[in-house]
């Protein structure tokens, strides 16, 4: 039920996702009376989908604490419960990010060794894709949090992006050791000195995000959120000025017409819908957040992200690696990770949306 054009946009996304993943099955949580007419238009999707009615909706202005307290019968909460109960292997939502993270943390719990799950995304750079985390789940982060993000991002880059030895950088205001706040300095020291199975590059700067200098970029949620939104805004501004320049003269218009295919290809290559789907890494269950303003194509990509995370066993990888990392950290001078909560892994069957 979440997102600007839900639930229609969600159904359109499911149709596209089913083309790409013909074996997927879906549980749809929400207002049955609103969902059914859209679902009934798509015979093939209807066959692999089940609507599970929910009376309540978490609105976009609901605070995380409110959602936790009052949202027990909401579509979002019931979908998360489905992952916990093993009815679904993952949840995709285009709704309230803070509420989704709070409820997912409460219901699914963090993976062993992870004190704070993070929001991650992978996006296009001038080289390959780069994974960035955290994008806003954790406003203030200490060095341990950043080290955990590094481990999770590295596992994702290896398992999902298929990279052999992904490089990891920490976002900072300069490359020199002395630069930055104490969290990034201590985290860099841990990643440099501890005998971790991670290829640590060092500090990277804001312009290295788009340059694709490293495969994984680690940052606190405040900086990550603002940096990524700055990038999104710049892409929009760039497109705006390009259109304005081309449409401002007859020769510009003619040139654009002749180069139409190339310009469309360019537009596609940076289309934010193709990169939609932020992953909540570090949770004991797969949870993907779609941009609320996206359309069916964008939502289908968020579903694709969730299916990739499941198929590539990212959570199993994080658990395994974090066990090694904890050992390495305890062997060295670096501070110990927080004690891991005792959580049991569940394996599910369907993808809840």
């Amino acid at each position: 039920m979440g997102g600007d054009n839900a639930p229609e946009m969600v159904i359109e996304g499911l149709v596209l996702a089913l083309d790409r993943h013909p074996n997927a099955r879906f549980l749809l949580y929400g207002d049955e009376a609103r969902l059914k007419p859209f679902l009934d238009q798509h015979g093939r999707l209807r066959k692999v989908s089940e609507i599970r009615h929910a009376d309540d909706i978490i609105t976009n202005d609901a605070k995380p604490a409110q959602a936790l307290r009052g949202g027990r019968q909401s579509s979002m909460r019931l979908a998360i419960n489905a992952v916990k109960d093993g009815d679904a292997v993952g949840i995709i939502s285009a709704g309230n990010t803070g509420a989704l993270m709070a409820m997912a943390k409460f219901v699914l719990k963090a993976l062993p060794g992870i004190s704070r799950p993070a929001i991650a995304t992978s996006f296009p750079t001038m080289r390959n894709k780069t994974v960035v985390l955290d994008l806003g789940a954790n406003i203030e982060c200490d060095a341990d949090n950043l080290v955990q993000f590094a481990v999770m991002g590295e596992v994702f880059a290896r398992n999902v992006l298929g990279l052999d030895q992904p490089s990891v950088g920490i976002l900072n205001v300069g490359q020199e050791d002395l630069k930055g706040n104490s969290a990034v300095k201590v985290a860099a020291a841990i990643l440099q000195d501890a005998d971790l199975p991670i290829k640590f590059y060092g500090f990277v700067e804001g312009d290295d995000l788009a340059a694709g200098i490293v495969d994984v970029i680690v940052t606190d949620g405040f900086t990550g959120n603002i940096s990524l939104k700055s990038i999104e805004g710049t892409a929009k501004m760039f497109a705006h000025y390009l259109r304005k320049s081309l449409m401002g003269s007859t020769r510009g218009k003619l040139g654009a017409l002749i180069a139409k295919k190339a310009l469309l290809e360019f537009k596609d290559s940076l289309d934010p819908r193709r990169y939609n789907g932020a992953m909540f890494l570090g949770l004991n269950g797969i949870c993907v957040k779609s941009h609320g303003g996206t359309d069916g194509l964008g939502f289908s990509n968020a579903i694709h992200v969730a299916i990739e995370l499941i198929e590539d066993g990212v959570n199993e990888g994080i658990k395994e690696d974090f066990a090694h990392v904890s050992e390495a950290l305890q062997g060295g001078d670096a501070p110990e990770a927080e004690p891991a909560p005792d959580v049991q892994e569940k394996s599910g069957r369907a993808v809840g949306a």
Copy 2:
């Protein structure tokens, strides 16, 4: 002597700046043997310029503390001294940013009421220009620092950009009051509640930077530096992919040829050299930092920024406004500003580079 292509690039910048500001005069601090041959090639510039030999140079890898201790005979330090001594009305450097800020703070001191000077720049958005500060002088900022940045940015937008009632926003991860770290929350409360002569918009997000939602955007130096560099990197990536798409096919190349003028106009409108020149606001003297990798055109813009700051009396404006702000803050519940250091304003004559 600072910057990748100094001193030639600096001389080229001075030539262009003199075209734009025929009454300007320049003091050039650096290695006379290297400066003179370049200067001698430009008769008109030579007439209004004086070389003041300096034996030492602050290198780019010098730490601020090293520069302060060991750089007393450096070109950078002598140029700053010239502003303090009233020989120059401002300094422009393409050298080491940290060393420049540290020495400028030490020699020129902060303006009354300002506890921490900030690095600011104005850059193009989808509407008008937006001023952003801090861009890296202060890695960790408290609410008072952010309020001071708001005052300084507002004065700049009014005096230099010529805006009647510039709007001010604080960069955050969301627009709601509850979002963000405590520094931004407290700063927003002060700007909202205290009876300040500032049009406070509230929180803005990363994508609002390029959208131009407000005239002044306030942030800590860590986030501001990374955000602005993210924007620079994205612009480069966008240009890279556009070129690649157009050059990848015959029709693309033909279209680009026909639309060449429009594409060049587009390129110019976002040319970073046109926005080169970061201002150190809050110092008792004008200090502008040029990008080290710029060329003569870029450096000439940094000189232009310094001359604008001087001609538009930005420092006088900041001092005046900060007196009002201090009164307003002391009248309300908001915390008092730090006691102002007792500094004397100097008025100079030439622009040191």
